[in-house]
Symmetry: C2
Subunit: 142 residues, 2 copies
């Protein structure tokens, strides 16, 4: 009997078996053939599609975005430009988060350095960094 069992597919594509069943349930993966004992059997094509899905998810695309991207992969009559647009929108979001996080890192690194320098061992700190986080202005909102 050929084809992969769910556990193998999971390993190959970097997912858990329940996640695969979940994807099937929400219609992101097709319902596969079953062997005699009712167990799912998958093909190389399934490995490809699931790998694609997991990779997109790891990149932070929502299930809905992945659905659209996967449709693009499947249906080659549509232009690549469409995929690029989805990716580009997402890239902007990633960059925004990156900026915010860099600011946070700076604050925290400064705090740790200040602690080492100013209040080394001493009691009753003035923790300016933590204070700053409670005040409006400076750091990113939303």
């Amino acid at each position: 009997m050929s084809g992969y069992k769910i556990g193998i597919l999971a390993k190959r594509a970097g997912a858990n078996a329940p996640t695969i069943r979940y994807y099937e349930q929400i219609g992101l993966l097709r319902r596969p053939d079953r062997q005699d004992g009712n167990q799912r059997r998958y093909s190389d094509e399934d490995v490809g599609r699931l790998t694609f899905i997991r990779r997109c998810r790891a990149f932070g695309f929502s299930i809905d975005q992945v659905r659209r991207l996967a449709a693009l992969v499947e249906d080659r009559s549509r232009s690549c430009v469409e995929a690029r647009d989805i990716a580009q929108a997402h890239l902007a979001e990633v960059r925004a988060k990156l900026r915010e996080l860099r600011a946070l890192e700076k604050s925290f690194a400064g705090f740790v350095a200040d602690c080492d320098a100013k209040c080394a061992g001493a009691l009753g700190p003035q923790c300016a960094v933590l204070d700053e986080l409670s005040v409006n202005g400076s750091t990113g909102k939303r």
Copy 2:
């Protein structure tokens, strides 16, 4: 009658009213005084704490982490060294997140650029970029 109503607090700290009630419910915000008509009344201190919480959340800290950080801000009796240790641990997390996000940004920028270059405008055929996502190797897994 002094103090802010929930809507005002929400606006000042960058949250929604239901979120504030939710934070109260899970014990992240104290239960505020109520005025005659049973409506919550908040102080400037609450604005500070909620601002802090929202900012930490925006930076990707979990509620549990925020709980610990907030306790740190509140309790100044603890030595600066202790504060620094907690902050340092969080700094490590922030840096890890930063690394992930940077890798992500790189992959994505590459993806978008490839789309522009390889499949520029061309219809239908062989979007190499999307193909790559379905194949093991090359791009970032997890």
